[in-house]
Symmetry: C2
Subunit: 908 residues, 2 copies
C-alpha cells in the first residue's frame, strides 16, 4: 500500500533559519552538517515506490495505466540524477531494487558512471536493498531472505556497496524475524519503519520510546539487537504539509520570487514550527538514514528495549489490519508453493551445474521476490495486479519446471558429474495435482507401458511420506527401484474434487480434460536426503481396489476435539462508523455457524497427525453480505487466554488474548484485534499437552476462546475498506462467460503432543509442508528403466545424515529440551561429490564476510541492567575440518568454492 512517491522525511524536526523572505534568488545554505548543541534535523528524501499495488510493477515503472494512478518510476529515477548533480549537498535514498534494476539496465555508461559516483559518495544510498519492501505478516522468512539477497547481490556486484539500514515504512505491522534476521543478521545497523498499532504509538509518543533497541530473538538475545526507529505517523513527515508526493496537496516549496505563491519564508516557518514541537535550537541538513544512525550512535546513550513484534496493526479503534493475513488465499498458496519449489529447483540447478543462460530459476526467483511486496502476497492490491503477480509466478514456474525436468533427466542418466543439458529422458510434472489433474499419471497402461514416478526430496533428511496420484486404471501395481512391490491403495476421488478439476482445468488451460481419472493411487515412499528415488507403476491383473480398507487410519488421538466452520459477516461500512471489512481490515459484524458434511480429513498410518483438506467457496453473497470463512478447532484445554503463533514462519511468539505485553490495550475489536499472522502454525498448551496446527500458506489465526483455535480460510467482501485499493475483495473465476466466487482448496495439519514435545513436529513437519516432495513422471516402454537409469540419488554422503536438530533448520532456544543445542554439520559429507576449496562465512544476504560485518556493526546500549543471557552460536569454521557448528535457531551462510562450480549454499 502506498503510492509511488518522492517525499521529504523529517526524521527529527526543525529549521534552517538562514535569511529568507527577500525577494531575490535565495542561495540556500545547503552545506550544513550536524551542529553540536542544536537539534539536528535530518531531511531525508526517499522513495516509497510500490512494487505493484494499484498498478502492476511494470506499469508503475513505465508510467502506463496512469488513469488509475499517475505514477512513473522511471521518471523519478531520470529526474533524480540531475537534481543531485545540481547541489552537491543533496542526498537521496532509493529503496526498491526491482525498480532500480529495471532502470539501471537501460542506462548508458555515462549515466552509470555518474550514478556510481553518487553512490560511492554516499549521496545516493541504496537502502533496505531488497527487490521490494516486503510484507512481514504473510511472508515466509525464507522468501524474505531470498528477495533481500537478490537485491543485495546486485548492489554488491554493481556498486560494491553493502546496505546498512532497514527501511520498512509501509508494511502493516512488523515481525520479530524482520528485526533480528532481516536486520541484525543481514548486517544492518538500524531499522526504520512504520505502521504500528495506534495505541502502541500513542503510548510510545508519551514515553518517548519511538526509538528503541529491538531484540527480536530470544535465542540470540543482545547479539542480534538492532536500533529501531518508529515513525510518529505513518510514513509521513511531521504534520505541517511536508508530504511532497506528486499530486499531493502539500504546498510545494515555491522558491522563485518572481512567481506567485512564493512561499519560502512560510514554508521555513512551517518547518520551524514542526521543529519547535521537539524544542531547542535546530539545524537542518540533507541527510540519509545512515548519517542519522551514525549520529544517534555517536551520542553513546542507552535506549529502551523492545522485544517480540508489532502485530496486529490497527490505525483506528475499529480498523485492525488483520484481514490481509488471509486475503487472496489462492495467491498466498501459490506463492508458498512456488517458494518451496524454488528451493528444490535451485538445488537441482546446482546439481546439474548452473548456467547463466538457457534454463535458470532466475525468473522464478524474481517473480517470487516481487510477490513478497507488501501489496502482493498480502492480497491488498487491485485484482489486475494480483493477476500480474500470478502471471509472473507462472512464467517463472514454467522455466523452473523445464530446468527441473532437464536436471532430473541428466541426474537419472549420468548423475551429477558431467555437464548435461539435453537428456534423452523426459520428465513431466503436475502443477495441477492439487485439483486432481495429472495427465502423466493418468496414462493408459494397457499397451504395456509403465509409469515412472521420480520423487525428489529437497530436505536434508530422509523422508517417509504417502503419495497420491490420480490414475485411470483400476488394476495397478507399484514397484520400487529395486523391483520390490510396494503396498498401494486405490482411493475414490470425491465428487467435489472432480467438479473442481473439470472447471479449473478448463479455466487454467483453456480446454477441458479429455478423461476423468478413476482413483487416487496412494502408496508410501521413502526418499533419501537431497535426492530422489524412483517408483514404477504398471498394470496388473488383480484389482487393487479390493484392498481399500481403513488401514491408514490406525492412530491414537490423545484428546477430544471438534472441527467446525463458521463465517463472520463482513461489516459493510454503512453504520455510524463507516469502516468496512475489506482487503486490509477485518471487521466482523456477527458470527454464523456453517454446517458441512464435505470435509475431508485424513489420518495416515504411521503418521500421528490429522490432515484436513478443505474446499471453501464459492462464498455466497446473494444475501448482500460479505463473508469471512473460518474453521475452528475446539477442545476442552484450559489455556488461560494464551496461544502461540509463529513469526514469519520461524520463531513462535506467545500471544495473550486482549493483551499486549509492552503496552496497555483498550479492546474495541475482541475478534479482529486478537488475530495474528500464521505462516507456519499456531498452538495451544495446557500444561499437559499441546495442540499444534500447521498451515499450507499464510492465514490469519487466533484463539478467541480458551481451548479453541481458529483459522481464517477465505474472505469474500463487497465493500472497499478505504485504504486506497478502491476495490472490494471479491475474487471470482470466470468460465464461458459465467463468473462465480473463487473456490479455495487447502490443507491444515493438526497434532496433539505431550507438553514440551510439539516443537519437534512443528519444526520438522512444518519444513516438510514448506518443501513437499517433488514428483516427476516419465514412461517406461519395456522393462529396463533401472538398467538404463540411475534410480536413486542423494547429493549427500549416503552414510551421513544431518543431526536431528539441524536438517535445514534449527530449533528455537528452550523450544525443545534435547534439540535446542549446538549441532554440527560435516560439510564434506553434505557435498561428497565436490572438492571444497575456500569457505567464507557471510552475512545472511551473502553480501559481506561475517567477520567484517560483526566487526563494523554498531553495538547499541540498552537501558537498565544487562539481562543474563546464554546465547549459543557456532564458532568459526576450521577450513581443514569443514565442520559447521550451528547454535539453536542459527542460520549461517557460507560461500563455498567447489571443484565443479562456485556456488552459494545456505544452511537453514
Amino acid at each position: 500500500m502506498g503510492p509511488v512517491r518522492l517525499l521529504l522525511l523529517l526524521v527529527l524536526v526543525a529549521a534552517a533559519a538562514a535569511g529568507v523572505g527577500e525577494a531575490v534568488y535565495i542561495p540556500y545554505n545547503t552545506s550544513a552538517g550536524m551542529v553540536p548543541g542544536k537539534l539536528n534535523v535530518h531531511v531525508v528524501p526517499h522513495t516509497h515506490d510500490d512494487v505493484g499495488w494499484l498498478k502492476t510493477v511494470d506499469q508503475y515503472y513505465v508510467g502506463s495505466n496512469n488513469s488509475i494512478q499517475g505514477a512513473c518510476v522511471q521518471n523519478v529515477l531520470d529526474s533524480l540524477i540531475p537534481a543531485l548533480l545540481k547541489d552537491e549537498n543533496r542526498k537521496f535514498i532509493y529503496v526498491e531494487q526491482a525498480f532500480f534494476q529495471r532502470w539501471w539496465r537501460n542506462q548508458n555508461d555515462m549515466i552509470k558512471d555518474t550514478v556510481k559516483g553518487l553512490i560511492s559518495a554516499g549521496r545516493l544510498e541504496l537502502i533496505n536493498g531488497g527487490m521490494c519492501m516486503h510484507d512481514e505478516a504473510a511472508v515466509h522468512y525464507i522468501d524474505m531472505i531470498d528477495q533481500t539477497t537478490l537485491g543485495h547481490r546486485f548492489i554488491k556486484e554493481e556498486f560494491g556497496q553493502i546496505p546498512r539500514i532497514g527501511w520498512q515504512i509501509d508494511p502493516f505491522g512488523h515481525s520479530a524475524v524482520q528485526a533480528y534476521l532481516l536486520g541484525a543478521e543481514v548486517g544492518f545497523d538500524a531499522f526504520y519503519f512504520f505502521r504500528i498499532d495506534y495505541q502502541d504509538r500513542d503510548t510510545r509518543k508519551g514515553t518517548k520510546e519511538l526509538e528503541v533497541i529491538w531484540r527480536g530473538s530470544k535465542t540470540f538475545g543482545s547479539s542480534a539487537d538492532i536500533f529501531a526507529g518508529i515513525f510518529p505517523q505513518n510514513y509521513e513527515p511531521p504534520p505541517g504539509g511536508f508530504y511532497f508526493e506528486v499530486d499531493d496537496d502539500s504546498p510545494v516549496v515555491q522558491d522563485d520570487p518572481l512567481l506567485f505563491d512564493y512561499n519560502v519564508e512560510e514554508r521555513v516557518n512551517d518547518f520551524v514550527a514542526a521543529a519547535l514541537a521537539q524544542d531547542g535550537r535546530v539545524n537542518a541538513l540533507y541527510s540519509t538514514p545512515s548519517i542519522y544512525t551514525d549520529a544517534k550512535y555517536a551520542a553513546n546513550e542507552p535506549w529502551p528495549l523492545k522485544t517480540n513484534d508489532f502485530f496486529p496493526y490497527a490505525d483506528n479503534p475499529n480498523a485492525y489490519w488483520s484481514g490481509y493475513f488471509t486475503s487472496r488465499p489462492a495467491l498466498k498458496r501459490y506463492v508458498r508453493m512456488m517458494s518451496g519449489y524454488y528451493l528444490a529447483a535451485r538445488q537441482l540447478e546446482f546439481f546439474k551445474g548452473r548456467r547463466n543462460s538457457g534454463l535458470t530459476t532466475d525468473y522464478l526467483g524474481d517473480a517470487l521476490a516481487l510477490a513478497q511486496h507488501h501489496d502482493a502476497v498480502t492480497g491488498t492490491e487491485k485484482q489486475h495486479v494480483a493477476n500480474d503477480y500470478a502471471k509472473r509466478l507462472s512464467i517463472g514456474y514454467t522455466q523452473a519446471q523445464d530446468l527441473v525436468s532437464t536436471s532430473l533427466g541428466c541426474l537419472t542418466e549420468s548423475g551429477s558429474k558431467s555437464r548435461c543439458s539435453s537428456p534423452t529422458t523426459k520428465f513431466s510434472q503436475c502443477l495441477l495435482l492439487n485439483i486432481t489433474y495429472c495427465p502423466p499419471s493418468e496414462m493408459d497402461f494397457s499397451n504395456g507401458k509403465s509409469l515412472v514416478v521420480l520423487v525428489y526430496n529437497s530436505l536434508g533428511w530422509k523422508r517417509e511420506d504417502v503419495l497420491r496420484v490420480p490414475v485411470s486404471s483400476d488394476s495397478i501395481v507399484v514397484h520400487d527401484s529395486e523391483g520390490r512391490e510396494i503396498e498401494s491403495q486405490l482411493l475414490p476421488i470425491a465428487d467435489a474434487s472432480l467438479n473442481l478439476r473439470d472447471k479449473h482445468v478448463k479455466a487454467y488451460l483453456g480446454t477441458s480434460p479429455n478423461a476423468k481419472p478413476k482413483y487416487w493411487l496412494s502408496f508410501p515412499v521413502s526418499v533419501p536426503p537431497l535426492g530422489f528415488i524412483t517408483y514404477l507403476v504398471s498394470n496388473t491383473k488383480k484389482s487393487a481396489i479390493t484392498s481399500f480398507t481403513n488401514k491408514f487410519t490406525n492412530v491414537k488421538i490423545e484428546a477430544n476435539f471438534e472441527q467446525k466452520y463458521k463465517y463472520y459477516i463482513g461489516q459493510d461500512g454503512n453504520g455510524s462508523d463507516p469502516q468496512a471489512s475489506g482487503a486490509y481490515i477485518f471487521r466482523p459484524n456477527g458470527t454464523v455457524p456453517i454446517k458441512t458434511n464435505d470435509q475431508i480429513t485424513r489420518v495416515y498410518k504411521e503418521k500421528d497427525y490429522v490432515e484436513t483438506e478443505f474446499i471453501v467457496g464459492p462464498i455466497p453473497i446473494d444475501d448482500g453480505n460479505g463473508k469471512e470463512i473460518a474453521t475452528e478447532i475446539i477442545t476442552n484445554m484450559v489455556t488461560n487466554k494464551t496461544f502461540y503463533t509463529d513469526s514469519s514462519g520461524r520463531d513462535f511468539i506467545k500471544r495473550i488474548r486482549d493483551y499486549r505485553s509492552e503496552w496497555k490495550i483498550e479492546v474495541h475489536q475482541p475478534i479482529a484485534g486478537n488475530y495474528y499472522p500464521v505462516n507456519l502454525g499456531i498452538y495451544l498448551e495446557d500444561g499437559g499437552k499441546e495442540l499444534s496446527i500447521l498451515v499450507d500458506r499464510s492465514v490469519g489465526g487466533s484463539s478467541i476462546k480458551d481451548g479453541q483455535i481458529e483459522l481464517m480460510l477465505h474472505r469474500r467482501l463487497l465493500h472497499d475498506d478505504g485504504r486506497g485499493v478502491a476495490e472490494a475483495l471479491n475474487e471470482t473465476v470466470c468460465l464461458d462467460g459465467h463468473c462465480e466466487g473463487l473456490v479455495i482448496q487447502g490443507k491444515y495439519y493438526l497434532k496433539f503432543d505431550p507438553q514440551g514435545e510439539g516443537a519437534k513436529w512443528r519444526r520438522t513437519f512444518g519444513q516438510e509442508i514448506y518443501s513437499p516432495l517433488l514428483l516427476a513422471f516419465s514412461e517406461q516402454d519395456g522393462g529396463n528403466w533401472v538398467n538404463s537409469h540411475i534410480p536413486k540419488y542423494s547429493a549427500m554422503d549416503p552414510t551421513y545424515k544431518l543431526p536431528d536438530n539441524v536438517a535445514l533448520l534449527t530449533l528455537q532456544a528452550g523450544e525443545h529440551k534435547d534439540l535446542s543445542s549446538l549441532a554440527s554439520v560435516d560439510l564434506k559429507k553434505v557435498f561428497p561429490d565436490n572438492k571444497i576449496g575456500k569457505i567464507i562465512e557471510t552475512s545472511l544476504s551473502a553480501n559481506q564476510e561475517r567477520v567484517a560485518m560483526e566487526k563494523k556493526r554498531l553495538k547499541w546500549k540498552v537501558e537498565g541492567a544487562p539481562a543474563k543471557e546464554n546465547v549459543v552460536r557456532g564458532g568459526p569454521v576450521d577450513p581443514s575440518k569443514l565442520t559447521v557448528e550451528l547454535g539453536p535457531m542459527e542460520i549461517r551462510t557460507f560461500i563455498v568454492s567447489l571443484d565443479h562450480n562456485i556456488s552459494g549454499k545456505q544452511l537453514l
Copy 2:
C-alpha cells in the same frame, strides 16, 4: 482549456516499418528524413501548456495544487532537454513563452548553452512564440499583438530566432484577424489550429479541405494569405491511442522487452493502421511544423481558398461555444480597461524616458499577456484562476499607475525633455471611478484649495468629451488652464450607483468610504492629441446645481427604437441531452422578458449617439435556474437576416442568420448558433441607414430577428458544461461573510447613421472607447498652478494632426468611401521633440525587418483563377522625408531611433 500535455501529434499519418517484435533492444531507426513517393508522416511532439485554466499559471509551472490537476510544466522542460540529447533526430516544439521564460531564467549557463544549440539546430523550435496561446474571440487585436510581441522579442533577443509558424490548437474558434494580422503580418509561413465547427470540419474532411490558404483580410487580399492546416479532431492525433499526455489512457510505447506489456510491435501496427487510413506507403520522421510546412510548400501545389473566420464553434449539435463570448463580464471589462490604460501608460513611459528598472509598465504588460490566454479573458477558467489573472492585472495597474503619475508630474513640471524621476507634483488616479469612488475629486474645497484635473489623451487626434467626477460640494466652478470658466453641471447620483459604491469599495479596499459624494460634476473638455490639458475645480458662492437642466440631451434621433432586457434560462443538462449551458457553452432553454425602470441612458449635447449604462445583477437563482441576461435593441429596419460583427476589434464581417458562407449548416440551436463575438461592435443596415452598437468589453451578440440586435451582458449558471473546468459559472462577491451574485456595470453606445456613414463613428469612437481619456488629480493650494506648471502638452507638433483616416487606426477597404484610401503620416510632426535617426520597418511583432520578412515568406498558390485585387499598401519610407504611407487597414511597425532614446512605436 486543455491540460498540460506532451503529446505525439501525427500531422499526417503513417508508420515506420522497421523490423520490430524481436525480444531484444530495438535500435530504432529515427534518422529517416522525408522519402519521395511515400506518404511522409511528420511526428511532432509539442506542448499545449495552458497559461492558467484549472490551476494558475504559476501553479502549473511549479507543479503545486496538484490535487486539482497533476501538472508541472517545469518538469516538462527539465525532462525535455535530456530526452532531446539522447537521440539527435528527436525534435520538439515549445509553444507558451510565459512558461518557457519562467524556466529559462532559472537555468544555468550550461543548460542555456545546450538549449541554444538545440534551438539553433532546429531541434527545439519555439513556435507561435507569444506568451500564451491567446484566445481569438474575446481578445482585442491590440492585445494579441502586444502579447505576441512580448514573446517574439524574447525569442529574438535570447536566441536570434524568428518564429515561422502559428499554432493555435485550442482556442474555441478562430478569427480572421488571427490569420492575416497575427499570421501573415507577423511573418508566419503557416498557421495550424483546431476547434472549428463540427459540421464545417466534417464537410472539409469530405472535400479534403482541411488544408487551405486562408485569406483573412479583404483589404490585403492575397498579400496576407497564409497556409492554414486544420486538425481533423481537436488537437488530437488520429484515433488509435496516440495521446501521450501525462496520466492519459493511451498505451505508452513500452519498449523494454524485459518488462510486461512490451508493445512496440502492437503500437507500430496501430500507427500503421492510422496511417493506412490515408492510403499509400508511408514513412515516418520526427518533425516540426516548420519542416512540414516546407514540405508542403515544396510540393508547389495550389490549395483551396478560405475567407472570413471560424466562428462560432460547436463541437456538437447542441453545444455552441458562444457562452464564453460573455462569460465573466467583469474580468473581460477589467482586461479591456487595462489594455487601454497600458497603451496610455506606455506613451507616458516613453515621454518620461523609459528605464528598465524602477517603475515600468512591464508587469502590466505581462499580466495582460497572460490574460489573453484562451482560458483567461474567455472566462473559462476556475474561479481561483480568474482571481489570479485579476490579481496580476491589479499589481500591474498599481505599478503602471505610479509610473503614470510620476510621468505626468515630470511633464507638468518640465515637459518631456529631461530625465525626471521624482517630481514634486503628485498626481492621483481613480481606478474606481466607475463605481463613483474618487477621493481626490471628493475633496473638501472649503479651505480654499482647488482640484487640479489633468486629462490625458492617448489618441493621435484632438478629443472633445464630457467628464464626470463625483464631488462633495454643491457650489463648484471649473476653469480651464487659461483661466476661462467652463460650463459645468452638477448631476444627481443614482441610488443604485451609491449602493454599488458602498459595497464594492469595501469589498475592494477592505474599508468603507468615509463620506458620500453629493453630485456628479460634469463638464466638457477638449484635449490635444497625445497630450494633456488641465482644468481647475474650485468652490464658488453660487450654487451650480441650479443650472441642472436637460441641456445635454439636445439631439435628433433618426429612427425609433426600443431597448429591452430579457433573460435566457440556462439549460441545466438534466434532459435527454445532458448538455448544460456553462462557461463555454450557451444553450438557452426558453426566454423571459425583464421589466426594468433602472436603466440610465445618456445623450450628450453635441454627441449624436446614445450611451446606455447598465447595472445587471445579482442575477437571482432562487428558482433553481441559471440565467443569461441580454439586452436587445429593436427597430423596424428590414435587415434580411444580415448583420455585421467585428473580428477581434478590427475588421467587420458580414453574418447571415442560420447561414454559413462556405458550408451548409444544419440548424439545431437557432439562438446560440447565431451568436458571434463582439469586441468593438455590431451593426445592421437596411439600405437607408445603419444602426451601430459599440461595446466597452467583449460580449456575445447577434441579430436574432430582423431589425434587432442583442448583446449578452451577464451570465450566472448553476451547472458545469462538461468541458473540463468542472465548476458552474456562478460568480459571487462576498462581504462580511455574505455572498451574493456578481453585479455587472457597463456601457454600450448606439448610433444611427445614414447608410455608408457608420464606419467613421465605429472606427473613431470605437478607438475612443478603447482609449478613454485618462484622468489624474492633484491639488492646488493657492492660485499659481498655471504659473508653476505646464498646463497643456502634446507630444505631437501642435500645428499637425494625423489624417482623418489614420489617427491610431486605419479604415477597412470599402468601408467608408472617403476614408478608405492611402494616407500619410509625417513622423517629424509626430515626434517634433526628437531627432529621428534610423527608421526600420519591421514585422508586426517587431522581430525582423519587414523587407527580409517579405522576401523569405512563402508565397502559396490558391486553386482557381486569381481574383482581381486592388490592394493598397504604403510604400517604403524615405529616410530623408520620414513620411509613412498607410494603406487602408494597414498596420505598419517601425523601430525608430530617436535622439533621447531608442524606442519602438506602432502606428495602428
